[in-house]
């Protein structure tokens, strides 16, 4: 077993015990990147090996002298390329930020650094987190380590693939409509979107501000709970950051779901859902029932309205959030132009890819004079209804169980031609963002093509511990599959 096969917490323990040095861990990660990057393209930017080694030595000293005692100290991590990292370029996988080096580091990443994390690179993503396949990146597509002919999902596809391929021990992603949970599902890893406001958004380059949330992507539920405990904080620099009393997420790793009420939305299990995915979800329900949970089906309602409401809200916010990329302060500026407005238009038209432009156009339209009420306010009212539907559900259930995505990972090149079809792939994840809820995707089984199927657990706001409990118990009962891909025969 190679060092990159360990979970982040296992590796952290070995480092702490002196069985593995931080340098060895660093070299293992860099070796994996050297060996696999050409094939999977998980990263936009990989740190120089020498710099990573120097950092590793520095961390080792702090671990040895007792300054760093946390479970993630010295463990190699990758960060999605929409989180600012001081001195390391941050591109959002866009041409428009090709050479952008932030002057500061995102709060969530700072929290990792404080815990002694070894940051080895910035992962590929759909441009500005807009997409479900990591094919809209300006820096090439990322491929699914389970089968390189398939997409890793998106938008945090680089992070998911890097974890799955063992090109890092764990990663940070961001989730606006499913961008952590869906690629986690496609890549056979665990990905968690916390309650809105739990992890600071300061330094996360905004896509849909009211929906964006940073979360962990890792090999198992224990890692996820541990990482979330590390990155979650109340940040006075983020007005929407929530002050919580219960950051001890690992305390929910109990393998005990006795009496837990679990609801499966009938509306998640019908038309459009792949039969094998459905079976995997029902199998997971059965495992939990065997462990003492009470599982029943119920009608969540409004499921089909989440996607249209989401695209109005997210596109509107994006059209405004992305206005700052104009060739004046940072990033790309077009070569030749005549006057200010021509400079703006050429810079943005050359700097943004088609999916980003599509959403900016839509967002600008739905906010424009005469349409605001019909589209934007309508979407916000729909969001309120969706939130009410979840409130009703959580009055009855501790956890909602369902698929993370309707299918396993599609083939490369299949999705982008029909945007609405691609958007429909987010049907089980998007409403969670609209309602601000926590959700986690855990690998359930493999389909007949050998691709992973993700099981999603959704909790009420601030009830991360419920879904961690359910996900952990399920993980403990799951049939053994070697979820770790590193060192496997080439597929």
């Amino acid at each position: 077993m190679g060092l990159m096969d360990y979970t982040a917490v296992e590796l952290g323990k070995k480092i702490k015990a002196g069985e593995v040095s931080v340098l060895e861990a660093a070299n293992a990660a860099m070796d994996a990147i050297d060996a696999l990057e050409d094939k999977f393209n998980c990263y936009v930017t990989v740190q120089e090996r020498a710099a990573v080694q120097a950092k590793a030595e520095e961390l080792q000293k702090k671990i040895d002298d007792g300054t760093l005692t946390g479970p993630l100290a010295g463990v190699p991590v990758a960060v999605k390329d929409n989180m600012c990292t001081k001195g390391t370029r941050t591109t959002c996988s866009s041409k428009i930020l090709e050479n952008f080096e932030p002057a500061y580091t995102a709060e969530a990443v700072l929290n990792l650094e404080k815990a002694g994390a070894l940051i080895i690179g910035k992962t590929n993503m759909d441009e500005f987190a807009m997409g479900s396949t990591t094919e809209t990146s300006h820096y090439g597509v990322t491929k699914n380590p389970w089968n390189a002919e398939h997409v890793p999902g998106g938008s945090s596809g680089g992070s998911a693939a890097a974890v799955a391929a063992g090109e890092c021990s764990y990663a940070l992603g961001s989730d606006t409509g499913g961008s952590i949970r869906q690629p986690a599902s496609y890549c056979g890893i665990v990905g968690m979107k916390p309650t809105y406001g739990t992890v600071s958004r300061y330094g996360l380059i905004a896509y849909g501000s009211s929906l964006d949330q940073i979360g962990p992507m890792a090999k198992d539920v224990t890692d996820c709970a541990t990482i979330l405990e590390t990155i979650a904080s109340h940040d006075p620099k983020d007005s929407t950051s929530v002050k919580r009393e219960d950051y001890d997420f690992t305390s929910a790793l109990t393998d005990d779901v006795k009496g837990m009420r679990i609801g499966i939305p009938r509306d998640y299990m019908g038309e459009g859902l792949d039969e094998e995915v459905k079976e995997a979800v029902l199998a997971a329900a059965k495992k939990l029932e065997e462990k003492g949970a009470i599982v029943e089906e119920f009608d969540l309602s409004l499921v089909q309205y989440a996607i249209p409401a989401y695209y109005v809200i997210a596109s509107a916010e994006a059209s405004s959030n992305l206005a700052r990329f104009d060739g004046v302060k940072y990033g790309y500026r077009t070569e030749s132009y005549e006057g200010l407005h021509n400079m703006y238009k050429k810079t943005r038209s050359e700097g943004f890819g088609p999916e980003v432009k599509r959403r900016i156009m839509l967002g600008s339209f739905v906010l424009s004079s005469g349409y605001y009420d019909a589209y934007y306010l309508k979407a916000l009212r729909t969001k309120a209804l969706i939130k009410q539907a979840f409130d009703k559900a959580f009055a009855k259930y501790d956890v909602i169980l369902g698929p993370a995505a309707p299918t396993t990972a599609p083939k490369l090149g299949e999705s982008l031609s029909d945007p609405i079809k691609m958007y429909l792939g987010d049907i089980y994840t998007i409403s969670v963002n609209l309602a601000g809820l926590p959700g986690i995707s855990v690998p359930g089984s493999l389909d007949s093509k050998g691709l992973p199927i993700g099981i999603q657990f959704i909790g009420d706001c601030f009830k991360e511990k419920n879904i961690i409990r359910a996900a952990y118990a399920f993980e403990q009962s799951r049939e053994f599959i070697n979820w770790s891909l590193s060192g496997k025969e080439e597929k």
């Binding site: 989180m83 600012c84 941050t90 959002c92 930020l97 952008f100 932030p102 002057a103 500061y104 995102a106 958004r201 300061y202 330094g203 996360l204 380059i205 905004a206 849909g208 501000s209 009211s210 006075p236 620099k237 983020d238 007005s239 929407t240 509107a316 916010e317 059209s319 405004s320 206005a323 700052r324 990329f325 104009d326 004046v328 302060k329 940072y330 200010l340 407005h341 703006y344 600008s364 906010l367 424009s368 004079s369 605001y372 934007y376």
Partner: protein
């Protein structure tokens, strides 16, 4: 002009609040400074940065609202106003559209004794933009974000004004209220108070408003008055020629005394407002509002009544002293230090007003310490200096805030009240002017003035006038 026209004017007044820091970040609001030295990721629109609201901005805005009889919106929010311009780093401005902090207020103005209410539609909070400077050597523009994010309130009036005089009276009233609150220094020249004029014309008696234009770039009261005249004439000319007034934003060129359209097709005025997702709503509880209300200062009307009651000053004096917060503060400080009200008032009405005018200064530019004025007044009262000398001493206080005792000592201005010395000088003058002595004795009392004048000249103004009079009378009678 065959028809009679009426001008209808509404104002959008921007006031920079006197906070120490910007509205959404901890950068200083200090005026000046080299370009971009008061900036951070937030006020330069760096990717990933987020705004956090300065509490003082809410308190100032609510205080101005209370002082202008507004209803305070106890649940209010910020919205984004989207438009591209290089002085606007995010290409949206955080402002308020749907739930502004204050609504439905009014202030009373007084033009030539006619009192009138100007209604305030709303007051909202927003962030200021950066500064653009033309670079003549390249033809480009340079962007400085030092002012980006400085807190503003925008006070939007109803179209209740009908003349430049009413507009000026309204602006002066607002300025006074806001200065009294300490919420801003309201200097038009430095841009801490700015007015955009919405103007339309209609035939006298018409019910409907005409099409209005908005004029920007007005940085003095006189420019505002000229712009109103100029725009009114332009619109009337258009109507008389059978043309239409176009609703648009125009830039006033004060040199050419004409306004020009400001925007092109590329500046579609479609701001796509939506609730700012990065900021939470503001809830102003009754308790908080009471707290803000309890901190409101004594305003001009209240002060005027009190000055009359407490000091018995003439209305004319009271009007001038309370017209400006600096003068009021000066007056009250001097009273507190023990000076007599009328005496202080006389100095304000006389020498201070004269010097301000001569030196083309605003009252807010006064920088001397009230203690020095009071000390000087006490020196007059004790006879240490006479009034004539005091005028000279005061100029030095006004200019350089000198300590009057030190100044009088250093410049040898102390009144001479050595009776023996004076008597000697006077004896000599009387002896040298027998003709005037005769005149005096013949009943020409004017001759007395001549002797006093001669004495003062000989004493270089420093003689104690009472003593001079007394000695002269003794000798001549």
């Amino acid at each position: 002009m065959s028809k009679q026209y009426e001008t209808v004017i509404g104002l959008e007044v921007h006031v920079e609040l006197a906070t120490r820091t910007k509205i959404f970040c901890g950068c200083s609001t200090a005026f000046g400074g080299a370009p971009n030295t008061h900036t951070c990721p937030v006020c330069t629109g760096m990717p990933g940065s987020l705004p956090v609201l300065n509490k003082q901005v809410v308190e100032y805005a609510a205080a101005v609202g209370l002082a202008t009889n507004c209803t305070i919106t106890q649940y209010c929010k910020f919205d984004r106003k989207n438009y591209f311009y290089p002085d606007n780093p995010q290409n949206y401005q955080i402002s308020q559209l749907y739930l502004p902090i204050c609504r439905n207020g009014h202030v009373e103005i007084d033009v030539d004794g006619r009192k009138k209410n100007v209604r305030i539609h709303e007051i909202h909070m927003e962030e200021d933009a950066g500064k653009l400077v033309h670079d003549p050597s390249t033809g480009n523009s340079l962007v400085d974000f030092n002012r980006s994010g400085v807190p503003l309130i925008e006070i939007v009036s109803e179209p209740d004004m009908r003349s430049a005089e009413e507009v000026i009276a309204y602006l002066e009233k607002l300025r006074m209220i806001i200065q009294y609150l300490g919420a801003s220094d309201c200097k038009l020249q430095e841009g801490s108070m700015r007015a955009d004029v919405n103007l339309s014309v209609r035939e006298v008696g018409a019910e409907e408003f005409g099409t209005r234009t908005e004029m920007k770039n007005l940085n003095s009261f006189s420019a505002i008055a000229r712009a109103i005249e100029g725009e009114m004439e332009r619109q009337i000319d258009l109507i008389e020629d059978g043309k239409k007034v176009v609703q648009e934003t125009r830039r006033w060129d004060d040199d050419k005394e004409y306004s020009y359209p400001m925007r092109s097709k590329e500046d579609a005025q479609d701001y796509r407002y939506f609730p700012e997702p990065d900021l939470t709503p503001i809830v102003i509880s009754d308790e908080w509002l009471d707290e803000i209300r309890s901190r409101q200062p004594e305003f001009r009307d209240e002060k005027q009544a009190r000055y009359k009651e407490q000091f018995g000053l003439p209305e004319y004096d009271i009007n001038i002293i309370t017209e400006d917060k600096t003068l009021t503060d000066l007056f009250e400080s001097c009273i507190e230090l023990g000076a007599a009200a009328k005496e202080v008032s006389n100095w304000i009405m006389g020498d201070i007003m004269r010097l301000l005018k001569e030196k083309e200064m605003e009252a807010s530019d006064i920088h001397f310490s009230p203690a020095n004025l009071v000390k000087m007044i006490q020196m007059i009262e004790s006879g240490a200096i006479n009034r004539k000398v005091a005028k000279k001493v005061f100029e030095a206080i006004f200019d350089e805030d000198v300590d009057p005792e030190v100044y009088v000592e250093e410049n040898g201005l102390k009144t001479v009240n050595d009776e023996g010395a004076l008597r000697k000088v006077i004896e000599e003058i009387v002896a040298n002017n027998p003709k005037s002595v005769e005149d005096y004795k013949a009943g020409k009392k004017k001759a007395m003035g001549f002797f006093v004048g001669q004495t003062m000249r000989a004493m270089k103004g420093k003689a104690d006038p009472a003593m001079v009079n007394q000695i002269l009378k003794e000798m001549l009678d």
